[in-house]
Amino acid sequence: MSRPRPEPVQVVKQRRDAALTALAGGVPYIQFLGIHFDRRGDELTAVLPFRDELIGNPFLPAIHGGVTAAFLEVTAVISLSYLWLWEDVESGRIEVEALEAGHLPRLPKTIDFTIDYLRSGLPRDAYARARITRSGRRYASVQAEAWQDNRDRPMAEAMAHFLMPRRED
C-alpha cells in the first residue's frame, strides 16, 4: 500500500492564491472599494479597510449603506466563484498558468440581493464571510455577514441568489 506523496506546501499555496488573485484582482470595482481577501484553506474572509470615501453619513460618521451592500455582494460572488473553481483548480483541470494569464471562467450573475442593516457602519475596517447554502447546476443561494470590531455583533447580513455560468466541458 502506498499513497501519492503530498505536494509541497508552497505549490499548493501558490495554486490557491493564484486562483483567488485571478478572481478578485482583476475586477476594477473590488479595487475601487479597496476590498481584499484573507484565505485559510477554502475559507475566505473579505476585508474592507476604512477610508473617508466610503462615508454615507458625514455627521455620525457612518459607512454608506451602499458600500456595505456592495461589500457583501462582492464577498458572496467571490466566495461562490472560489468554491465553484476549487475542485477544478485542485484537480489541475484548470491550470494556474491560465488563471495567472487572466483566462477566467465566467462569473455567476446576481439574480437578487437582499440586505438587512443591523447596526450603522462605524468609521473603521469591516470584515465579511459568505456561506454557500446551495450551489446547484443553475442556481446558487448564498448568505453573507459583515461585522467590525466584534464577530458576534454583525453590522449587516445579506441573502443572494445567483445564476451559475455553464460549465465548459
Binding site: Y29, V74, I111
Partner: protein, 141 residues
C-alpha cells in the same frame, strides 16, 4: 415640500463622500420622489471581460436614491437610515451608459418609510434593476 427643503435634501445628498466618489448627481427631488444619475465609470466595472458595471455600485445608487426619496417626503423625517433593501437584477446595464435610479417613498408612518425604486440605462423601457426597501424615520424632537 418647500423649495427650501428640496435644496437642503439636495445639498445633503451631494455632500455624501461616497455619493461623490460614485459621481452621483440629483436631477429631480421632492414630494417623496428622487431621481439620481450615476455616469459610466471604468472604475466601477464588475466584469472586465464585458465592461458591465458591478451590481454593488447599482445597489449603492438605489440605496442613495431611496434615502433621498424618504428625506424629501412632505412628512419628512429629519434623517433616515436603511433598514433593509432588496434588489432584483433584471439585466446587465449597457457599458458606457449612465445609470438612472428613480425612487418613490410610497408610504410613511411615524417610524418607517417604504420605498420602491427602479434603475435604467438609456433603454428606459427595460429596467436594469428594481428595488424595494424600508427606511427609518428619525424625528428631531
Amino acid at each position: 415640500m418647500t423649495a427650501d427643503k428640496a435644496r437642503i435634501a439636495r445639498q445633503f445628498i451631494e455632500t455624501i463622500p461616497h455619493a461623490q466618489a460614485l459621481g452621483m448627481t440629483i436631477t429631480e427631488i421632492g414630494d417623496g420622489f428622487a431621481r439620481i444619475e450615476m455616469p459610466y465609470d471604468a472604475r466601477l466595472v464588475g466584469d472586465p471581460q464585458t465592461g458591465v458595471i458591478h451590481g454593488g455600485a447599482v445597489s449603492a445608487l438605489m440605496d442613495t436614491a431611496g434615502g433621498a426619496a424618504v428625506m424629501s417626503h412632505p412628512e419628512a423625517p429629519a434623517g433616515t437610515a436603511t433598514i433593509d433593501l432588496r434588489i432584483d437584477y433584471m439585466r446587465a446595464a449597457q457599458p458606457g451608459q449612465t445609470i438612472v435610479a428613480e425612487a418613490t417613498c410610497y408610504h410613511i408612518t411615524r417610524a418607517v418609510a417604504f420605498v420602491r425604486a427602479t434603475a435604467t440605462d438609456e433603454d428606459t423601457a427595460r429596467p436594469v434593476a428594481a428595488a424595494t426597501g424600508a427606511f427609518t424615520v428619525e424625528r428631531t424632537s
